[in-house]
Amino acid sequence: MRVEVEDGRLRAIESHPANLATPEGVCLKGLSYIERVSAKDRILHPLQRTSAGDFERITWDAALDRITAELIAARDRHGPRSVFFYSGSGTKGLLNEVSTEFWRLFGGCTTTYGDLCWPAGLEASRLTLGDNKHNAPWDLVNARLIIFWGKNPAENNIHQMRFVEEAIDRGARVIVIDPRRTQSAEGAELLVQIRPGTDGALALGIAHHLVARRTVDEAFIREHVHGYEDFTSMVRAYPPDRVAEITDVPVEVIGHLADLFGSTAPASICAGFGMQRYTNSAQTMRSLIALLAITGNLGKPGAGWIYANLQSDIFSSVREPLALYPPDDDDDPIRVSISTALLGPRMLEQRDPELRVAWVERGNPVTQNPQTTKILEAFRALDFRVVVDQFLTDTAREADIVLPAKTMFEQTDVIGAYWHPYIQIKAKLIVPPGEVRPETEIFWELAQRLGLDADGVAAHIPAPSDEAVEAWLERRLEPFPEISLNRLRQGPVLAPGTQEVAWSDGVYPTPSGKIELLSEEAAERWGAEVLPTYGPNTERPAEGQAEAFPLHLLTPNTKNRIHSQFGNLPTIRGLEPDTSCEMSPADAADRGIADGDRVRVFNDRGSVEITVRFDNSLRPGCVVVHNGWWLAEGGGINLLSAARETDMGHGAAFHDNAVEVERAV
């Protein structure tokens, strides 16, 4: 985006015309940065928790001295691994690497592996295709069939909608598969309101038809697909009536979807992240990719698996999802031993040493990681906690010291993306307000106080100046002659080697060199079936039966926020004044609940009290609470989710979440 600055203040934010993925306008979260940067509740000075439990302003010297003393005490008494380093994805950029370098110089620490967001899908894609990439965003206009499978771009990938609309204008058909009638479904001809967690079975049911009717792309399969014969035998076990029973998708709709797949090309499946937050979801995602593979919908314009495009991640030595996995051995000073999906329980389980100190940056795990109660318990069991953030989030409220964090306009950095393939600069445009200091400066100061190895510090942590930061970045960009800070200042740069049509070269970096419907690695690494079979997810309320927790709780994102960010801004609050539970009137009637009632949404892990809003088109048996509302705002929906991993990739199975709803008394 392009930002207009006037008298040291942000004045306007517009899209950058050279980024072909976002030619029209910036999303409302991006626009709200004008408000965010100068928000009244932004943290501008170091804060210290008082004995009364609130926060008081302290000087940087006092804050850093105290942190230094606590870090040394923990390291001396329990070893450096008693310090827990947690980072989220709140701010992206190459400079984030500095944090890890600091902890290495400190002597080590304990940190997390896995990811809350999307690793089951990443792993499914890697196992099947060899990597995670897809066609350039603007190529979607060439599609003739677009399936939004568990994805709601109208809210969560707004810039994709421009290309969807153009595709529709050119004659594309749009199908949405989602238990909710999302905004994206409004442009679709059909909304398939599947039972949550059963998408894999639907894909196999469609594949069953395609195989039986021989409406597959045999030439493509011969050339590019590994394991097709085994796959065809496997899908025989998924006849329409069985699939209809599992998925609650009518037999004729399964047939209709198979007709569309068999007859309409090119086809793209745009898959959502929510669908891969179940305990069976990597298998689900593998079976979805299989549909594209057997119909020849890969490596062509308008066709493909639109899930994650990591083509702009040219900087990592190992790309995700492999970069998210714990190392095979434990010889690094940094102990990577806590699955972020299991954050609370694993923090409590650490031994030799136990955790004593936590440092949290770029994240709000108390609100966003599963099973909040356990996370609070784990944080409260520590001796000392530091949180770096822009606002007093639920996690910051647990801290002993809160340090102010920069926004993206306050330090120059370089970023990639995961949908479009551009490398871009976030140039420093304004001086950080108040006493805000970028994390790199905080670490540099701490390194001085801790007396860390001076050569190491000089090599890895930029000194507190714009010149040092830019020199650090230029060094980082050295391997890429096409990219320099000056070049990036002129506009976005396509990542070197970008394929606008992914897989158009037919090169699939899998063990067989082909698209692997059959993956030995799935079995070796994850103990899964070599084929993408369907198995039920863990928490699966059987509808219509008397159970303690008969409802599926879905906790999707909204257009108004990115997880737990932005909700505190008055503009955003004006668009969404309070948190609510969306419910089908049918389910509400069974429970004597009226529209607007206060209800308790609960299971055996926790409960929240919230207002009901009727959604007359929601699939009965599902209730929806958008994630991200802070506990401090009356939210905290992860009180109900389970600390539990996805079947592959060390993701978090947030949506395996059975609940009950009752009127609050």
Binding site: I13, E14, G25, V26, S32, A154, Q193, A589, N616, P620
Partner: protein, 446 residues
Amino acid sequence: MRQALFVLDLDRCTGCAACVVACNNENEVAAENGWRRIHTFNEQRLATAPVFHFTLACNHCVEPACLHNCPANAYTKDASSGAVLLDQDLCMGCRYCTWVCPYEAPTFNPEAGVMEKCTFCHHRLQEDRVPACTTACPTDALRFERHGDPAAVDRAGFPETGLLPAIRIEGSRRQIAPSMTAAPVAVNVASPPQPVGWKGLANEWSLWIFTSVATLVVAWFASGVAQGVAVDLPVFAAAGLLAMGISALHLGRITRVWRAVLNIRRSWVSREVVLFSAFFTGACFATRIEMPLWLLWSIAALGFASMFAMDMVYRVPGQPVLTIPHSAMAMLSIAFYIGILTANPVLLWPTGVLKLVLYLARRDRPTPGGSLLAPIRIGVGLLPALTLAATGEIAVVAALVGAVIGELIDRAEFYASLRFLTPGRQIDHDVVQHEGLAQMGLGPGA
């Protein structure tokens, strides 16, 4: 006059509100006072109706109701763009424009005491740039055209009162709901009508007092003329001045009250103020100066005319609740009062019975208290007066006191139930229609 135009494509608009944020940023508007808003059709997602969004700010109408009706002449229409602009230095904060604009374009800024509204980004247009909201739209759903030809808009959910709004609405795909495999079929989805509370009265209490006293004052003077009795100046003047003073209390900028007379050419508010002031001044003089009967009746006629203007103030195109005829409308009330004061059955019978019929016919009694007040309104407010008409065996004073109580109740309910057309109300109305059609097998969702 050149007329620019917003273009909104309902197929492309996802209701994301980037335009809202961009507007707040550009114009440095506080979020709670925003100039642009998203109005969602079928927010409750009835299975038979589509969901789509109108993002609306000011539509810079060719026939701007705000401009025509502003008593203070605070609005102008820019010749180079057609932008309807509000001069905050001229606005007295009466908020009448919020009644007549069906798009909720003017918003009241409580700190400044005046209205504010979308300017079409007039400052940007002068620099040859387009409005910020249209630049910000991530899906190209909201656009701007420098030269347009506004026409009536015929879209479910869009208020259309003949103002020629400068917005063209495109897109047709989303006029039907997607086919859904699991939407509930037979759930009663029609939300119960919201009960009418007293908030409307709380907002307009000063107008309640003014109109109630003004009708009495006019009726008192006219009855005096009819009976050849002069009104008592100190009481009459005190009542009139108090009523006018209290009416000024609803202004955001009370020192600009004099501006209320500036638009006599088009504004019923200005006409009401001018006519009532003229009547009141003349009536006061009439108590001290000998005047011929024709002149006295002329002054009374000014009073009647001011009451007519008062009723017309509340008659706003597109409003869902009738104010003419209404059992508490001013013209009817003065005739009723004069009937009592002159003990004249010829006036009392038709006015009293009409009031009773109109009152009983009305369904939306405010809650709480509406059902308790109804017997008082009828028993105390109307029955004594009708008894007077029928038998003459009741004191005029008793009938009058009862009538005043009854009229106060009725006029209070008038303000409580006052409703003007807004996008939200248009949508609520049309969604139900959509649903009804679909259930009968006629609608697009069937």
